[in-house]
Amino acid sequence: MQDGSNRFGLLSAVGILGERNSQMLSEFARSTQAQVGAILSLTFIAIAVFAPLLAPYAAHVSDFDEILQGPSAAYPLGTDELGRDQLSRLILATRVSMQAGVMATGVAIAIAIPLGLLAGYLGGWLDRAIMRLVDVALAFPFLVLAVLMAAVFGPSLWNATFAIGLSQVPYVVRILRAETLSIAQEEYVASARVSGVPTTTILRRHVLPNLMNTLIVQATIIIPSAIIAEAVLSFLGLGVQPPTPSWGVMLSSSQGLITEAPWLVWAPGLAIAAATISFNLLGDALRDVLDPKTVGRR
């Protein structure tokens, strides 16, 4: 079927993408929001990946003669109290935020998939038990989890992202469970079950692929939240530890110097906001295409 408006039609014709997916991709690519969101998000990811190459100075280089200098040619965003170049630190901190986004999403999805699938597919007491666990998990917002992790294991980026991911699990489990429930009603699933196909295979081959769209949508919601959450935790000292640069850490140390070095306050905050907006735009655009009846955002 030749559809002139489907620029990715070639991909489906060649068999790389399904017909429907390539149409969605085309629709997605057409929206301005998607384009802007995608470009910006990719920019951040690129910055994160190539950070050491982009940063004019290495992370820990400090020049004590240049403490608390305002923006200048040598130091476009000024220096901090240890004479470190803010621009470099800002760029390097991008890595931390992107890592947080990816890791938190990974943790959330890895834990939520088995729970959601089993709850939705098997039902019964297992379902009820899992939903009880979800209720309990909802009593622990990410900060509380991070506090507990920090108290038990000591603060670190990994502990912080684990806590963030864990805090997202209840929401993802609920959605996956609902989706699994409705997929399980489909005829092809019923016939597979009747034919004696083992449950794990059914879940793996029939249910899981149909959840991909939902998972992508969830990822788009989790990533921006994780970026902010990591910044908050680092700001409070529960995440990344100095001297590793993180936007949150940078903001934290800028607070005490707010009167002497106001320039230190601007950049990290703007970076956080920009990254969050970029991924939100991308996420919104993806959601419009993948899931028109999106549940309310968190």
Partner: protein, 319 residues
């Protein structure tokens, strides 16, 4: 309705129990000798420590320890702070009012800004007030609240000197002084909340305004005000309540951060200080209180649902 209420309470009780177990396990995992933890200030005299072990049954099997711990907790005894030797419950009672004041003020701010903006955006859907409101909401959600706080301090306190930058005065001492110092924190904590409310209301109201029952309302000759507020907005409140419930998770991290920035002696600061000073009894006590509060709030939100939307049959298994 009563049956539903009882069932929900039962579920919450189970969740509460499980949550307390989690906290207990975490508490056990925290480094340090529990006896020393409880002894706190009193020093490391081995005899004292052994006495504590006996008293709290620290050599007893784990589940026994749990029961003792939870029994004490239910009576409000969370032990003593390692740092200051005040009772944990005392510290909590001291700091909670500050945080509650902040939370209530922020909630009010969010509602008074978010609802009207959302309604206006929905009513003028597609025209500039809608676009304007959307931009504001997107910014409000994306800008990290602690950065907003720092920027506000920079602008209002340092440059303009309209308001003090930090600190707290209890209302009992000076209402004006208290409010002066609470305005900026309220804005900081309330903005993200307001943006979320505004977005949700807008989206739900746009749908409501296009619905058949709104058409009927107009066909009855009701004034636009009645139609928009009495019909469309009223039916959209359920969705807003949902969002508010979801936002509460962010509320506490927001409160912690806000208190840190504006140096408010609240609950949030208590917990952060406790983490850094390894004050485990405080950490455990606070976490338990927070978890309980969350479960109760979730329960409250569920009940509020029922009141606002008579169609929702909450005793069905929700998907």
């Amino acid at each position: 309705m009563l049956r539903f209420l009882l069932r929900r309470l039962g579920e919450s009780a189970v969740a509460l129990f499980l949550a307390s177990v989690v906290v207990f396990v975490a508490a056990q995992a925290m480094p340090g000798d529990p006896a020393q933890t409880i002894a706190g200030f009193e020093g490391a005299d081995p005899a004292v420590l052994q006495a504590i072990r006996d008293r709290y049954g620290l050599d007893a099997p784990v589940h026994v320890q749990y029961f003792r711990w939870i029994t004490l907790a239910l009576q409000g005894d969370f032990g003593n702070s390692l740092r200051t030797n005040h009772t944990v419950s005392g510290l909590i009672l001291q700091t909670l009012p500050v945080t509650i004041q902040l939370a209530v003020m922020s909630l009010a701010f969010a509602i008074f800004i978010g609802l009207p903006l959302g309604a206006i955006a929905a009513y003028y859907h597609g025209r500039w007030p809608d676009y304007g409101a959307n931009v504001v909401a997107t910014l409000g959600l994306a800008v990290p609240n602690f950065w907003l706080g720092l920027m506000l301090i920079l602008l209002v306190a340092v440059n303009l000197r309209w308001l003090p930058a930090s600190g707290y005065i209890p209302p009992t001492e000076s209402i004006l002084g208290n409010l002066e110092r609470m305005i900026l924190p309220t804005i900081v904590l309330g903005t993200g909340f307001a943006a979320a409310i505004m977005r949700q209301l807008r989206s739900t109201m746009i749908e409501a305004l296009g619905s058949d029952y709104v058409r009927t309302a107009r066909a009855k000759g009701l004034t636009e005000k009645t139609v928009v507020i009495g019909h469309a907005m009223r039916n959209s409140l359920v969705a807003v309540v949902t969002v508010m419930g979801l936002q509460l998770g962010l509320m506490i991290s927001g409160a912690v951060v806000t208190e840190r920035i504006f140096v408010l002696p609240g609950f949030g600061r208590l917990i952060i200080d406790a983490v850094f000073s390894r004050d485990y009894p405080v950490i455990t006590g606070v976490v338990l209180v927070v978890a309980t509060a969350y479960l109760l709030i979730n329960l409250g939100v569920d009940l509020l649902y029922r009141v606002l939307d008579p169609r929702v049959r909450l005793d069905q298994r929700e998907v």
